[in-house]
Amino acid sequence: MNTSVYIHIPFCKAKCIYCDFLSYSCSPEAPLVQNYLQALLKEIRLSGQKLQQAGIKVGTLYIGGGTPTILTPQQLEMLFSACRRHLPLNNPEWTVEANPGTLTAEKIGIMAKNGVNRISLGVQDLCNERLAMLGRLHTADQAEQAFLSCKKNFPVVSVDLMVGLPGQAEADLLATLAQVCQWGPQHLSLYGLMVEEHTPLAEAVNSGAVTLPAEEENLAMFWAARRFLSAHGYEAYEIANFARKGYWCRHNLTYWRNLPYLGLGLGAHSFWQRQRLVNTDKMQTYLALLEEDVLPVARRQSVSRRQEMEDTMMLGLRLREGVSFASFASRFGIDLRDVFAVQIERLLQLGLIECTHGAVRLTATGLPVANYVFAEFLEV
C-alpha cells in the first residue's frame, strides 16, 4: 500500500504580502534553521519507522513551504538523503516547491541527483511591477530562467500562477498564460488571490491603497483562463489545477480523494487512521518535543463516518471527475445518493451539479460557486 508524505519548510527570505501560511523570514544560515532541520530529520526518521512497521510505502512525497529552496545546498542534501534513508520510498512522485529567486544550478543538481522528479515553480505573475508589489523576490526573467533550468533537469515542471491580483486585467492574465504555455510546463496551478486577515495585503485593501479586480472581472478571468488553457492542451482536472494528459499531481489527488497522508514539520497536517492530526505550530515546542524523541502532534481529532463522507464530497467535487458512485459505495458501503438525497436533489434543481458518467460532479454553473455546493454537504 502507498501513501503520501508532506514535509514543511517554514522559512522564506521575506514574506509575500498576501501570505498567511506558517513561515518565518530568515536566512538559511540562522541557527534556527539548523535546529529545525535537525528536529525535522528526527521526525522523518520516527515517521519512517512508523511506516515501515505498518508496511506502508511512500507513493508521493511533497516538500513545500515556506520556501524549501531557501535552504543551502548542504541543507538540501541532508534533507533529501534523510528522506531516502528513512522513508520507505516506492518510486514516488517527488515534488519540491521552488522559488525562482532562490534556485541555483547547484541546488537543482542536488535535487535531481537525489530523485526529485517534479518541481512546482512559484512564478505567480510575469509583470515585474506587480511581482515587486506582492513582495516576490524575483523578476519575470528570473522566473523564465529558473523554469528553463528545471525543465532540463526534471521530468515534470509545474508552474504556479495567481489570478485576481491588484491591477490585473484579463488581457494581462492571458498574456502571462500565453508566455508560460510557450515554456511548456506539463502542469499549471492557477490560484485565486485571497485576502487573508492580518496580512499586509488585507491592510492595504482595507485602507484603499490597493484595489482588487471586481467580482465580475474575476469571474471573467476565471473563465478566460480555463478556455485558454483548454485550447492549449491543458485539462482542468481540478478547480485550480491544469495538466497535460497523464500529468495530474498525484500528491494533491491524495487530498482531493480524501485518502490518508502524513504531514511532517512545523504545523503540518496529517490524515491518518481516521484521525486528523496537526503538528504544533510553535517552533520551540516542536524542537523540544523532538529533542525528547516525541512526535510533535498538538491536536488529534477522530473523523466520524459522517464527517468522512462529507469530506469526501467536499474534496472530491473539486475534481472534474467528481465523486464516483462506485468508489463512494465501496468505501462507505452506501450509495452517496442515499446519504445526501436532499442536498443532491436541491443542487440538481439549481443546476449546480450533475449526476453523469457514474459520478456526481460540478456543472459549469456550479464551478464558480463551488463553495456554495460544498457547504450544502456539510452538517453544521
Binding site: 508532506y6 503540518a268 467536499m314 463553495n371
Partner: protein, 598 residues
C-alpha cells in the same frame, strides 16, 4: 403595631438619580439587611434590571426603625419602576403610600421623569419629601436644584434633605423625615377588607403572591377572599410581610403592607390596581383607580427554527405567569411560519421580554418591527383593531384609520431646543407649547403619534442633544391620520412580516430607504433578487440584489482540510440563521430593518 407608628412610602426619581442606592442605605441603616448580606442594590432582583440599572418589577420591604422620639416605627418602602412603559404600575404603588421621597440628582436637576412622577404623586395626594442626592459629586449645585424645586414643582427648597446615598450622608435625616413628615395611614381596621394589589409575582412552588396594601379592614389566615373585578374567590393560605424576605403573620390590618398567598394560579387573577376583599363580608365598593392596562406596542416573535415553536409557547406562558401586561396570540406569517403576536406596554417592555426569551430560554428569535394598534373604520361600517400591519384591510374597504397619539414632554438645554423641535416635526409632532424651567432649560410639549416614538425617536433624541434631553410621554387617545400600508416584495413575493404602515407623506421615502437597506442585508443568492416596495398594486421603489457570481476557494491549503471545512461551515452557519422565504434566504436583521431607516 398601631397605625400611628406605620409609614408607607416610596421613592421616585429620574433614572440614575440614585433611587436604588438610597433604598439600599435605608435597608442597611434600619438593620433590615447587614452590609455583608447585601448584594448591591437588593431591591432590583432581576439580572436584567441590575445590568440596565433600572427597576422593572416592583418590590416592597418593611423596615423597623426606632426614631429619635424613642418610639418604634414600621416603615414600608415600596419600590417603583422607573420607566414610562410602567406608568400605571407606578401610579398604583404610589396609591399604596402616604408619602414619597423625591430624589433629584444634585448635578442633573429636575428631569422629565422627575416631573412625570411628581404629578403622579400629587394625583395620589402624597406628602412629597424632596431629597437632593449625590451632593458629594464635583458637579453638585444644591442651590440651583433647590430653586428648581421651588419654581418648577412648588416645593419649599429649604426642606430638601441633602444626601449622598453612595457615601451614606443624610440617611438618618431621611428616616426621621419619613417618620415626622409623612402622615400615618388612615383606614378603619373594623371596616370590611379592602386590600390594594400593587404588584404580584408567580412562584413555582407557592403560586401567585399578591403584594398588597391593606387600606381598610383586616385579613387573616384561611379567610375566604374575593377579587373584586372578577368575583373570583380564594382561600388564604398565608399572609405576611417583607423583612425583606417573606415572613408569615397571623393578621394584616388597615395601614399595613404585605403579601397574600391564596392558591391563585395566575397573575391575571391579581391584576395591579385591583381590590381584594373578604368573601363573607365584602366591601361595597372596590378602591378607585383600577383599570386593565392594554398593550400599546405589538410585534411578532418567530422561532428561527420552526421546531422551537412549542418551546417559545412554553416560555411565553411562563413569562406571562409573572407579567399580566404581556399578551400573546398565535400568529402565522407566510414568510416566517408559526409564531406569536405579542403585546407590550412599551418598547422597553418589549426589549425585556425579547431578551429574557433569548437569554433565559435560549431561544433564537426573529422579531418583527414593533407597531402600534390601529383603529380602522371600515366603509361598510364598524371598526376593527389592527395589531399587525399585514392584517390591514384593503384600501378600498377603509374609510379612515386612527392611530394612538401621546403627549410628549422633552426637557432640554436651551442650545438644543432647535434640533429637538426639528426632530419632533420630522416625527409628525404637533407643537403644544414651550416653557422655560430656568434660563437654561426648556420643556417642550408635543403631541405625537406613538408609532413615530417607537421607531427610533429615543436614539435620535439622544444623538441630536448629545444625551442632554430627557423625555417622557403619556397616552392621549386615538386620532385620525392619513396612513397607508406599504408592502415589501422580495423576488416578487410579498413578505408579510416586512409590511409596515406609514403616513402617506412618508410612505415613498420610507419604502425607498427600506428597499435599499434590505439590499445591503440580504446576501446574494444564486440568482438575482428584486426587492420592491408597493402600496396596493403600485410599486413605489425597487432595488436588486445581484446574483452571487463567484464563490470558490481556489487556494491550496495543502493538507489543511480542517481549515477548508471551517471556512465552509462558517458560510453554512451564517445561512442557518436566515429564514427561507420562497427561494430567498433572508437574515434576521432584515425583519428589524424598518426600524433603522429615516
Amino acid at each position: 403595631m398601631q397605625q400611628k407608628n406605620i409609614r408607607n412610602f416610596c421613592i421616585i426619581a429620574h433614572i440614575d438619580h440614585g433611587k436604588s442606592t438610597l433604598a439600599d442605605r435605608l435597608l442597611e441603616a434600619t438593620g433590615a439587611l447587614s452590609e455583608r448580606e447585601m448584594a448591591a442594590q437588593v431591591l432590583d432582583q432581576m439580572d436584567l434590571e441590575r445590568e440596565r440599572g433600572i427597576t422593572i418589577k416592583l418590590q416592597a420591604v418593611r423596615l423597623n426603625y426606632r426614631a429619635e422620639d424613642g418610639q418604634d416605627y414600621i416603615l414600608n418602602l415600596i419600590d417603583t419602576p422607573g420607566h414610562v412603559d410602567f406608568t400605571y404600575e407606578v401610579s398604583r404603588s404610589l396609591a399604596a403610600c402616604e408619602g414619597a421621597l423625591l430624589v433629584v440628582d444634585a448635578s442633573q436637576g429636575i428631569e422629565a421623569q422627575t416631573l412625570a412622577n411628581v404629578y403622579l404623586a400629587l394625583e395620589n395626594d402624597l406628602e412629597i419629601i424632596p431629597v437632593i442626592n449625590k451632593i458629594d459629586l464635583p458637579g453638585a449645585d444644591v442651590e440651583k436644584v433647590k430653586t428648581e424645586l421651588e419654581e418648577i414643582i412648588g416645593l419649599p427648597g429649604e426642606e430638601a434633605i441633602l444626601t449622598s446615598a453612595k457615601e451614606g450622608i443624610g440617611i438618618k435625616e431621611v428616616l426621621e423625615a419619613v417618620v415626622k413628615r409623612i402622615p400615618p395611614p388612615q383606614g378603619d381596621a373594623s371596616s370590611p377588607l379592602q386590600a390594594l394589589i400593587f404588584d404580584s409575582h408567580y412562584d413555582a412552588y407557592r403560586g401567585v403572591i399578591a403584594y398588597v396594601r391593606i387600606v381598610a379592614g383586616q385579613i387573616r389566615q384561611r379567610e375566604k377572599i374575593k377579587i373584586m373585578s372578577s368575583g373570583k374567590v380564594f382561600e388564604v393560605t398565608e399572609i405576611g410581610t417583607f423583612r425583606p424576605e417573606m415572613t408569615a403573620a397571623d393578621v394584616l390590618s388597615a395601614g399595613e403592607v404585605g403579601y397574600i398567598i391564596a392558591g391563585m394560579k395566575n397573575v391575571k387573577d391579581t391584576r395591579v390596581g385591583d381590590t381584594i376583599t373578604s368573601a363573607e363580608n365584602p366591601a361595597p365598593e372596590p378602591l378607585p383607580g383600577y383599570r386593565r392596562v392594554n398593550p400599546m406596542v405589538y410585534c411578532g416573535f418567530y422561532p428561527v427554527d420552526n421546531a422551537d415553536y412549542e418551546s417559545l409557547k412554553d416560555a411565553l406562558e411562563k413569562l406571562n405567569l409573572n407579567d399580566a401586561a404581556l399578551t400573546y396570540e398565535p400568529e402565522t406569517s407566510e414568510a416566517l411560519g408559526f409564531g406569536f403576536r405579542c403585546g407590550f406596554l412599551g418598547l422597553l417592555h418589549m426589549e425585556i421580554i425579547q431578551e429574557r426569551l433569548e437569554r433565559e430560554y435560549k431561544l433564537a428569535l426573529i422579531t418583527t418591527a414593533p407597531n402600534v394598534v390601529y383603529r380602522v373604520n371600515l366603509t361598510k361600517g364598524g371598526t376593527v383593531l389592527i395589531e399587525n400591519p399585514a392584517a390591514m384591510p384593503k384600501a378600498t374597504e377603509i374609510a379612515s384609520i386612527e392611530e394612538p397619539f401621546v403627549k410628549a414632554k422633552v426637557i432640554v438645554p436651551h442650545d438644543y431646543v432647535g434640533p429637538v423641535m426639528e426632530l419632533c416635526q420630522e416625527k409628525r409632532g404637533v407643537f403644544v407649547n414651550m416653557e422655560y424651567l430656568d434660563p437654561n432649560r426648556a420643556v417642550l410639549t408635543y403631541e405625537m403619534p406613538l408609532s413615530e416614538i417607537i421607531f427610533d425617536f429615543f436614539d435620535l433624541l439622544k444623538s441630536r442633544t448629545r444625551g442632554f434631553a430627557s423625555f417622557d410621554y403619556e397616552f392621549l387617545g386615538y386620532r385620525e391620520s392619513k396612513l397607508v400600508k406599504v408592502d415589501i416584495l422580495i423576488n416578487h413575493e410579498v413578505v408579510d412580516a416586512l409590511s409596515f404602515i406609514a403616513h402617506v407623506d412618508r410612505a415613498y421615502p420610507r419604502g425607498r430607504q427600506l428597499c435599499s437597506k434590505l439590499r445591503t442585508l440580504i446576501p446574494r443568492q444564486m440568482f438575482e433578487v428584486p426587492i420592491q416596495a408597493a402600496i396596493g398594486q403600485k410599486v413605489i421603489a425597487r432595488e436588486t440584489v445581484k446574483a452571487l457570481r463567484k464563490n470558490v476557494l481556489e487556494k491550496c491549503y495543502g493538507g489543511d482540510i480542517t481549515r477548508k471545512r471551517k471556512l465552509l461551515e462558517k458560510q453554512k452557519a451564517g445561512k442557518k440563521r436566515m429564514k427561507q422565504v420562497g427561494n430567498v434566504e433572508i437574515p434576521q436583521e432584515a425583519f428589524m430593518a424598518v426600524l433603522s431607516i429615516d
